[in-house]
């Protein structure tokens, strides 16, 4: 995609800079590839105050998941004529995320779109921001209830739990055998929620009684740790049938390990992953089925909600309805309990459709 090529170009420039101009920080200003719109937009916003100013605060600015989401946000911003300031830490750490909320508040942005690294850690400052008249839109990972105006949920949590169980069941030969979970960081809120719901589904629904969840390991959303963990799973459970990885980093690592170990026909991998990452593994049969929602759409919806909140079109109260063109089949969204809006069900990717997606 566009962003990517830009990223690469900048990357290469800076690579050259690294090699030849050693570590002069001047390179910084020339290649702000992490926050393409940052320096510019904050300058602009200072000047043209009229334009709608939105602060985008992901868990960390390195994860491509949030880069993908940003493409959607930018799309929306173009339409609603708003400027986006992306800020955020390099690592997904609660204590690193907090200062940026304070700064955005100081900068009097009109709205903050945030994926909370820790729902409670960010709550006090978000409340302060709301008190200062800033509309807070949570997306992807929710801040504590009451610390946002609207939370745009990518998917109904319980839905994901069931999906994960279903896919595992589908991939395990006649829905029986050992399965294991490879998650993100042990402290990751979303993953833990999904895993719990999946466990509940497995234990409650008789349909899954053949599946035997043997272990849950954590890859910290780092490729190397995830790889190690996946390898360990293969060794430790010789007759493992399915690895379920509800994280884009984990599922990729797991798929790589399995196909590298030439065990694609005995061990399957499923979970949540980017189509672009998983295409080869769908094809070589390592990961015939997995899921995700359209991350760009998620960002787009979040931006639209932010705009509507600022314009006053919606308040974020339960039961309100609004529609975003191009989403939800142009049917209106309804704000549910605790101001939650659900993007829609997770996509199910398999060899029939995976090539139609590019994110």
């Amino acid at each position: 995609m566009k962003i990517r090529t830009v990223g690469r170009g900048l990357a290469l420039i800076s690579v050259a800079a690294v090699v030849f101009a050693a570590c002069s920080s001047s390179g910084g200003s020339t290649a702000p590839s992490t926050a393409p719109s940052a320096a510019a937009s904050s300058g602009a916003s200072a000047a043209a105050g009229a334009a709608l100013k939105i602060g985008y605060l992901p868990k960390d600015i390195v994860n491509q998941y949030f880069a993908a989401a940003k493409t959607g946000i930018d799309k929306g911003a173009k339409e609603s004529g708003s400027t986006v300031i992306q800020v955020g830490p390099n690592e997904p750490k609660a204590d690193l995320q907090v200062p940026f909320i304070k700064d955005l508040t100081t900068q009097k942005v009109d709205s903050i779109i945030i994926s909370a690294d820790d729902k409670d850690a960010v709550a006090p400052d978000l409340k302060a921001a709301m008190a200062a008249g800033i509309k807070v839109v949570g997306f992807d990972s929710s801040p504590a209830v009451g610390a946002y105006n609207v939370f745009v949920n990518q998917v109904d949590f319980s839905g994901v739990g069931v999906n994960l169980a279903d896919w595992a069941c589908e991939l395990a030969p006649n829905c029986t055998g050992d399965i294991a979970i490879l998650s993100a960081a042990a402290t990751a809120t979303n993953q833990n929620a999904w895993i719990d719901l999946m466990k509940k589904t497995l234990s409650t629904d008789a349909k899954y009684k053949g599946l035997n969840l043997v272990d849950t390991v954590y890859g910290d959303d780092k490729p190397d740790v995830s790889t190690t963990q996946a390898q360990a799973l293969l060794t430790k459970y010789p007759n493992l049938k399915v690895i379920v990885a509800p994280t884009t980093v984990g599922i990729l690592a797991a798929a790589q390990v399995v196909s590298a170990a030439k065990k694609s026909d005995t061990v399957k991998v499923t979970g949540l992953g980017f189509p672009n990452d998983m295409k080869p593994f769908v094809k070589d049969g390592t990961s015939p089925v997995f899921g995700l929602w359209s991350v760009p759409d998620l960002g787009y919806l979040a931006e639209q909600v932010a705009a509507k909140l600022v314009s006053g079109e919606i308040k974020g109260t339960e039961g309100e309805q609004f529609s975003v063109k191009g989403l939800n089949g142009d049917k209106p969204y309804t704000i549910g309990k605790d101001g939650v809006v659900v993007l829609g069900p997770a996509f199910r990717f398999d060899k029939t459709n995976v090539d139609n997606f590019n994110f």
Partner: protein
């Protein structure tokens, strides 16, 4: 070179300090011994532990740390330390990955490119330490965040997926040369070459001389600054190789790749019996240290101990290793001094 051991003159009565002497001088052997015992015990609890697959997997992952640890050992032997290893690895890894993704070079070119960057980064460290006279620990603490910062800067939120790398490139990790995984092969080659240079060349010996007694080295007219500079440069080079191996093994590379490796590398060096005050230790020891840590990590998982224990156990291993060294050294010096009384 032998480890920080002491053996008194031949007329020592062969007392209890004798076996200590052996242990101290044969750190490599004792590490191997411990690993064998540990392996035996673990395989009782988890039979899969001693399978070829598992062992080669552990060895492959460990060899990445091992290569970096060899570089670190070179620096530590000269009585310095390099905390920026993980940042150098990460930066190299991303540069290699992204250059391949954009077909800047073929695989060999990219590998050379990466190793070259590592060398340059190492030379920057060497320059700051020897020319700007910044204490190694401070200098590399600084470059740790500088190099990592540049990495973020270069990478942004871009992640090079394994699919972005030329097929075959990433399989290398699992190819093998007469049964030995190629990574292990690389690690062994690095250790052997390095050890030969350290052991059998005058310049190599100067690494130990500088670390063992800087004043005496100066009096002998040994170019301490040059030696230290070279040590850092080589450390960078090794980090470069390790970075390339990281790409090959893990494929998926972004700005945070190789985070947290410095701890592992330094731990490996310490566990491998390289004295933090310089002058002692072997590259083989450092490499074995890396393997040892890898074994422990793997064993923990296999015997079903939650991975939360890993950190704690790493910590204990470091403490035990360093305490043992000190204890043995003291015992032997006491023995030597007693032996002195006629």
């Amino acid at each position: 070179m032998t480890d920080a051991g002491v053996t008194a003159t031949l007329d020592v009565p062969r007392d209890r300090s004798a076996w200590l002497g052996v242990v101290a001088r044969q750190r490599e052997l004792s590490l191997v011994a411990i690993m064998v015992v540990l392996g035996a015990l673990v395989s009782i609890a988890a039979p899969q532990f001693l399978t070829v697959d598992n062992i080669s997997q552990v060895a492959v992952l460990a060899s990445i740390v091992a290569v970096a640890a060899v570089g670190e050992a070179l620096v530590v032997i000269t009585r310095n330390v390099d905390l920026s290893v993980e940042a150098m690895m990460g930066l190299v890894a991303y540069c290699v990955a992204v250059s391949l993704e954009n077909h800047m070079f073929g695989a060999p070119g990219a590998i050379l490119f990466g190793v070259g960057i590592g060398l340059v980064l190492g030379m920057i460290n060497g320059f700051i330490v020897t020319i700007l006279r910044v204490p190694a620990i401070v200098a590399t603490l600084g470059t740790l965040s500088i190099f990592r910062g540049v990495d973020y800067l270069v990478a942004g939120s871009h992640q090079v997926p394994r699919s972005g790398l030329p097929p075959g490139f990433t399989d290398a990790a699992h190819n093998d040369i007469f049964g030995i995984p190629i990574f292990v092969f690389i690690a062994v080659v690095v250790v052997v070459v390095g050890s030969v240079l350290l052991r059998w060349t005058t310049f190599g010996r100067q690494f130990y001389a500088v670390g063992s007694n800087p004043e005496a080295a100066a009096i002998l007219g040994i170019p301490s600054r040059l030696v230290v500079f070279v040590a850092f440069a080589l450390c960078g080079l090794m980090a470069g190789i390790a970075g390339v191996m990281y790409v090959i093994e893990f494929g998926t590379i972004n700005g945070t790749s190789a985070g947290g490796y410095t701890l592992q590398v330094v731990a490996a060096v310490v566990v491998g019996g390289v004295g933090i005050f310089g002058g002692t230790g072997t590259l083989a020891g450092a490499a074995l240290g890396a393997l040892f840590l890898g074994f422990i990590a793997n064993a923990l998982i296999l015997i079903g101990l939650s991975q939360f224990w890993l950190q704690a156990i790493y910590g204990l291993v470091i403490l035990v290793a360093v305490s043992a060294d000190a204890y043995i050294l003291r015992r032997l010096q006491r023995a030597a001094s007693l032996n002195r009384s006629r």
